[in-house]
Symmetry: C2
Subunit: 231 residues, 2 copies
DNA sequence: GAACGTTTGTGCACGTTTTCACAAGACGTC
DNA sequence: GACGTCTTGTGAAAACGTGCACAAACGTTC
């Protein structure tokens, strides 16, 4: 019982997408949905949807589909979204402020439980309804609200320090916006969002399109032809 | 020749990370580097680094390592970063403004070539040195600077419309910040950055840690024990 | 209650990605 | 120029993820 069935990482990354779609469907009074319909909305294969959902248990009805409300509940439970998670943001610059002021968080299970910065000019100001505290108060902020998730929105050079501070304060999951690889002790999870990396991947595909058009111009028109889509 | 050796998607996603690290090393006068060292800095396995780099060609020297400057050049070339890509941003809200004002772009191969919004109150204002134009001028903006990459920073409900507008304007790669699946015709690449999804993945891991601690509390102390790290 | 259309749940084959393991090549030393 | 040390480049195995295809289960209709 303790280990519980393990869900593949690839599936874990898709469950939030299903969850959002299902919540939206529920809001417009859709009560049941087939794997085919959900797959269409999520931009994936129907078999994949079924296999993903099967990791949660057998909650569909053959010949009918899945009950939307129940599925929402099950995914929430599996992702640990039955309660809201307070998050602490380190770095109150452009990014930190945009995040703190973002309303789309609450709906999806998170609240900004605190925000800290090292710059005295920023400490004390209020962003997104939360007062910016000094980095030195991080542990206090984390403990007061029992926070376990931290977001790094400092410049790259300060990111490792921020990670160390978060870990020292007791945070066990970190989402890193800085374009830097951070090291954390075992038992701490790290996710990253690197804008430039995403753009560079797109640039690669653009480049390939250009090369392909050049290479095949002897044969066909240089219009597009390569497939790849959705997300 | 036209197809050129195809690089696995997983490798394409790591090349930007190597590139950033190598550029940093070059800046501090490191001239050569082994796969072991690069792996350490990138937080991955050394064999993976070697295999990834092998897709670019045999540019290392056995017994010695790789020449940093040459590797930087090769990765840039492969990713299509030998020139700067102008990018157009759709949506000049919090996110769009943070992106437009972000300086870290230029270093990594991109410039903000334009930014558009539908809100007349925002049109005409200047963010990040670029004047916000109206959505209706999108095609004009895209064509004037020959832009092929677009970023969507509108609310979720407007995202599909923004994607359609970008495609109609001639953009062939899109990075989507809105929490919505967008559909595009074949030949157009899409990348997404969904903050809430990333946080929900972390929440899942937190939840598992909690469940594991509960389940094993009969046996061991409820401290951390599960591994997982880096990025 | 049998026949039928529908949709799930999953075994299986396939493709992709990771990791191991080691031969081959480069360099330095004697 | 032979030897030892180091590090690459890459087959081959293992692990992981995807998608097909179909039996099993459900609801409906007659
Ligand atoms: N702005 C963007 O659109 C964007 C896009 C992609 C990535 N990023 C990344 O996000 C991070 C933040 O970007 P930004 O534009 O908000 O930068 P910013 O300079 O506006 O803000 C950084 C903030 O971090 C604070 N800070 C510095 N050192 C700190 C420390 N040790 N502890 C706590 N706070 C500290 C600074 O005082 C400042 O308020 C950067 O790493 C950047 O590369 C930003
Ligand atoms: N702010 C954040 O930290 C954050 C975090 C994660 C995701 N996001 C996502 O990024 C997107 C933008 O967020 P935001 O905080 O900047 O929102 P925002 O409301 O501040 O800005 C949205 C902007 O888009 C413009 N817009 C609306 N419809 C448009 C259209 N059809 N064409 C062009 N422009 C249009 C609006 O006028 C507004 O200026 C949202 O989808 C949000 O979910 C934001």
């Amino acid at each position: 019982m303790q280990t519980r069935r393990r869900i593949p990482e690839a599936t874990v990354a898709r469950l939030p997408v299903y969850l959002r779609i299902l919540s939206e469907q529920f809001d417009i009074d859709v009560t049941k949905i087939s794997s085919e319909e959900l797959a269409e909305l999520a931009g994936v294969n129907a078999a994949k949807v079924r296999k993903d959902l099967s990791y949660l248990g057998s909650y569909g009805t053959r010949g009918v589909g899945y009950e939307v409300e129940f599925l929402v509940y099950q995914i929430r439970r599996e992702l640990g979204l039955t309660h809201n998670w307070p998050v602490v943001i380190v770095g109150a610059g452009n990014m930190g402020q945009a995040l703190a002021g973002y309303n789309g968080f609450g709906d999806r299970g998170f609240t900004v439980g605190g925000i800290v910065d090292i710059d005295d000019a920023k400490v004390g100001s209020v962003v997104g309804g939360v007062r910016v505290r000094h980095l030195s108060e991080l542990t206090q902020v984390v403990e007061a609200r029992n926070i376990s998730i931290g977001v790094i929105a400092t410049p790259g050079l300060a990111a490792q320090g921020a990670a160390d501070a978060l870990v020292a304060a007791g945070v066990t999951s970190i989402l890193n916006f800085a374009p830097t690889v951070i090291n954390v002790p075992p038992g701490v999870s790290v996710g990253k969002v690197d804008l430039a990396v995403e753009l560079q991947i797109l640039a690669y595909h653009e480049q390939r399109r250009i090369n392909a058009a050049k290479g095949s111009s002897l044969v066909s028109v240089p219009g597009e032809s390569r497939r790849r889509a959705s997300a």
